[in-house]
C-alpha cells in the first residue's frame, strides 16, 4: 500500500534541545524514543523495528554510526534497526523509512528516531571543523554552511531589492515563537537591531541569522492507519511525503540550472507531497508549517519554493505578518531551527513531531487553533536534498 493516507503517526517524543553535557547520544535517543512510545501507549517490546537518523557520528566517537543506540536505549536486543543519513534531512528520512516499512506490511509498529550530539565539542569544533578536515580536498576549500546560504542571500537581495532587515525579521519572528516552546534551545526575544548588530558570519548573514549548534533528539511511532483507527486513540496520518535529490554536494553549486534564488529540491519534493495529499493551493490549504530555517534566507526561499507565493514575494509574505503565529499560515511556531537549534539528525523528526502535535491539538501554548493540515519541510546540504511531509489529523 502507499504511504499516503495509509500510514499513521501515533506517538511522538522530543527531548529538550540545547547543550546537554550530561547526556550521551544514546541517552538522547532513549529519551525521545521512550517518550514517543509512552505517547503511543506502547511498550518497547511491541516495537518491531527501528530507524535512527544521525548525520555526524564522527562528532561522538562514532556513536550513532549505526542504529544500535536505539536497541541499546530501548533494551531490545535482536530488533532490526537501521541508521539513515542524508545531510540535514536525516531526521525526516528516518520517519520516511519507517513509514515505508509500515506501508510494505512488513511490520505493525515501528519507531523512527532522529538524534545528534553536537556539543561535546565547541561549535567551531563541530560542523565547522568538518569543512576544514573531512570534506572534499579541493571543491570545499572556503566552503562553510553559512557561506553557502549567504551566496543565496546575496543573490536574493540583489535580485529583488530586499535589505538585510527583511532577513532579520525571520530571526525576530522565530525567536518570539520559541518563547512558547519549553524545548527550544534559545527562548529569548531578539530585535531587528540586535540581529543586524550581531557578529558577521558570512555577509549578509550574522550570528542571529544562523541556527545554533545544538544537542537533541526526536522520535515518532508509526503504524498503519487501519490499526490506528481501531485503537480508538488520536492519531495523525501522513497524507503525502516527497523526497528530491538534485545533484552532488559540490556539483550543485556548479549546475547551470541552479538559479541560486531558491532550492529546486524543495520545489520537487513539495510538488510530490502536495500531489499525494491533493493540495493545490498550499497557502489556502495548509494550517501550520514547520520549515527549514537553518539561516534566515532559507525561510524566505522556502516560502517561494513551497509554492506559498511567487518568486520574489517571500520577503513580502513575511513582512505582512501572514506567517506569524495568529497569521494566515503560522510558520515555525516552535521557534524553528533559528531558536530550537539544529541537531542535524534530529531536526526533521522534531518537525514531524511538531506538526503531528499541532494537527492533534496537542501543541500546548503554541497551538495553532483549528490546525488540521500541516507541512514539515527539511533541506539537506546546499539544497542537494529536500523532504516534505504533509500530515493531517486522522480523526
Amino acid at each position: 500500500m502507499p504511504i499516503s493516507n495509509e500510514v499513521a503517526i501515533i506517538g511522538t517524543g522530543v527531548t529538550p534541545f540545547g547543550v546537554h553535557h550530561d547526556w550521551s547520544l544514546t541517552d538522547l535517543v532513549g529519551q525521545a524514543a521512550r517518550a514517543a512510545l509512552d505517547d503511543a501507549g506502547l511498550a518497547p517490546d511491541q516495537i518491531e523495528a527501528a530507524w535512527l537518523g544521525v548525520a555526524e557520528p564522527t562528532l561522538t566517537g562514532l556513536e550513532g554510526d549505526s542504529a544500535d543506540p536505539v536497541v541499546e536505549a530501548l533494551g531490545r536486543p535482536g530488533m532490526p534497526a537501521s541508521r539513515v543519513s542524508n545531510y540535514c534531512i536525516t531526521g525526516m528520512e528516518s520517519v520516511r523509512h519507517a513509514a515505508m516499512a509500515i506501508a510494505s506490511g512488513e511490520f505493525d509498529y515501528v519507531v523512527a528516531v532522529g538524534a545528534e550530539k553536537m556539543r561535546d565539542v565547541l561549535p567551531k569544533e563541530s560542523l565547522v571543523a568538518k569543512t576544514k578536515l573531512q570534506t572534499d580536498p579541493i571543491f570545499a576549500k572556503g566552503r562553510t554552511a553559512p557561506g553557502q546560504f549567504a551566496l543565496r542571500a546575496s543573490r536574493y537581495l540583489h535580485e529583488y531589492g530586499y535589505s538585510p532587515e527583511t532577513l532579520a525579521q525571520v530571526s525576530v519572528k522565530n525567536h518570539r515563537h520559541a518563547m512558547a516552546n519549553p524545548d527550544a534551545h534559545f527562548r529569548k526575544e531578539v530585535t531587528v537591531e540586535e540581529v543586524l548588530a550581531a557578529p558577521r558570519i558570512a555577509e549578509p548573514l550574522g550570528l542571529l541569522d544562523c541556527t545554533p549548534t545544538t544537542d537533541g533528539a526526536a522520535a515518532a511511532v508509526l503504524t498503519s492507519r487501519k490499526r490506528a483507527e481501531s485503537s480508538g486513540k488520536p492519531y495523525a496520518v501522513i497524507r503525502g511525503v516527497g523526497l528530491a535529490t538534485m545533484a552532488g554536494y559540490h556539483q550543485i553549486h556548479f549546475r547551470q540550472w541552479n538559479d541560486h534564488l531558491g532550492f529546486a529540491a524543495t520545489r520537487e519534493a513539495s510538488s510530490r507531497a502536495y500531489r499525494q495529499a491533493g493540495i493545490e493551493s498550499p497557502l489556502e490549504e495548509i494550517d501550520v508549517l514547520e520549515l527549514h530555517d537553518c539561516f534566515t534566507i532559507a525561510e524566505l526561499l522556502a516560502y517561494e519554493d513551497l509554492g506559498l507565493v511567487n518568486p520574489g514575494e517571500g520577503g513580502k509574505l513575511l513582512e505582512t505578518g501572514e506567517t506569524t503565529h495568529g497569521g494566515r499560515l503560522p510558520t515555525n511556531v516552535s521557534g524553528g531551527l533559528q531558536a530550537c537549534g539544529h541537531p542535524v539528525g534530529a531536526t526533521g523528526a522534531r518537525m514531524v513531531a511538531e506538526i503531528t502535535r499541532q494537527v492533534l491539538g496537542q501543541a500546548g501554548e503554541r497551538q495553532v487553533i483549528g490546525a488540521r493540515t500541516g507541512v514539515a519541510h527539511t533541506l539537506g546540504g546546499p539544497g542537494v536534498h529536500s523532504c516534505v511531509f504533509v500530515v493531517g489529523s486522522g480523526a
Binding site: 578536515l133 571543491f139 576549500k141 557561506g147 542571500a153 543573490r155 558570519i201 555577509e203 553549486h253 541552479n258
Partner: protein, 417 residues
Amino acid sequence: MVLAASLASVAAAIPCSRVSIGGVPRAVAEHDEDALTLAFAAALPLVDELGARPRALVVTSLSRPLEEGGLAQTLAECLGIAGDDLHIEEHTGTTAAGGAALVSAMALATSGLAPVLVVLTDCHRTIDGVRTGDGAVAAIVESGEGLLGKLELLGSHVQALSDVWRPMGAVDATAGDRSLTSFAEDYGVVPLGGQDRILAGTTSKPLPGIGSIGSGEVLLRPLLQLAKHSADPVDFGTRAGGLSYMFRLTPTDRAARAASVVAATAAAGVVATDLPRSAATPVRSYDSLARAWRDRASVLRLEGFRDVATGEILYPATDRGFETTRKPYTIARRGCVFACTTDHIFDEAPIEMVIAEMDDGAHFYAQVTPGAVVGIGDPVELVLRRLYVTDKGLPRYFWKLRPTTESMVELGGESCR
C-alpha cells in the same frame, strides 16, 4: 656549427605586489602562488595562441613546490598538453639553468621536436633568508623563421673549479669569480653597436622595480631591453655556479610589440608594505595522492562534460557511464560574479567566496584571490592557485577567481588584481 632556432612568442607572469626588501622593490607572489602557478600563468596564453600541443616542454626552476621534482609533469597536466608524445625536461641547480633550458629548447626544435614550450619560473626563492623576487617567463621556440626573431647560441662554458657561487649582494668575490661584463669576452664576441650585453647571474643587479626573479631572468632582461630598443639585435646570457651561456636574439618587426606586453606586465606592480601572508587557517585536509591523480582532469584542466542533448555543462566531471551522451568539455575561464559572500568563520581573516557565471554559461564556485573584493556583476577570471599543502607534502591546486579589468584584458596576459 652555430645552434640557431627561432623565437615564436613570449609571455611573463610577474606578481603584482612590490615590497621593498633590502632597499630594493621586489615582485613578491601571494601566499597561494608558487613556481607552478606562475609558470602556468606565463605559459597559458602561449599555448592558447599556439592552437596545438607543443612537442616538448622544457621547464626550469630553482624553487619547485616538490623537492623531488614533478613541476613539469603537473604543469603539462594544467596546460592540457600532457601525453606520451610530449618530450619533457626539468632543469634546476642555479640561475644558469635558465640558459641551459634555452639551449635544450633550441636543440630540440632544430632536431624536429618543434614547437618547444620553455618555461622558466621561480617563486618564494630566498638567498640568505631574503626574498629575491618572483616571476616566470615562457617562450615558444621553433625551427626556421620565428615571428619574433632568430635565436642563436653564441657559446656555453664551464668555468674552472676556482669559481664560486657568490650570494646576492656579496662583495668579497674570490679569485676566479670573474665579473659578468668580462664574461662575454671569453667568447670573443664582438659588441654590437657598442651596447652592453644583457646578463643575468648571481652578481647582476636586481631588475628595477622587480628584483631578481631567478631562472626567468635570462629571457626577461633582453625582452625588457627589446621593449626600449626594438630594432637592435640583443646579446644576452646567464652565468652562475661556473656555468655560462651566451645568446643573440635578432628581432623581427613584431618582437617589439611582444616585448612591450612583457614589459607592461612586469611594470604593473602595486606597492605593498608587507610580504603577503596566508589569510586562512592552515588545513589538515583529507589527503589522498590517488584521489589527486584521479581528479586531475577536472581539478587541473577544468575539464567537465557537456550534455549532447541539452547542452548543459557538467562540472566537476561525472562521466562514468555517460560516454554516449556527454562529451568532454573545458569550461571558459572568464565570467561575471553571480553571487558572493565574505565568510568570517575562518580564524585569521575572512575568505571571499563567489559563484561566477562564466562566458559559456557554466557556473563556477571558488574563492577569490587574496586581497581582492568583488561584487555581483563584476568581471572575473579563473587563475590557478595553490590551496594548501598536505601533511604529506603534496601541494593541492585549484582555481580562484580574480577581478578582471579592461586594462588586463588589453594586456592579454598575466595581470594584476
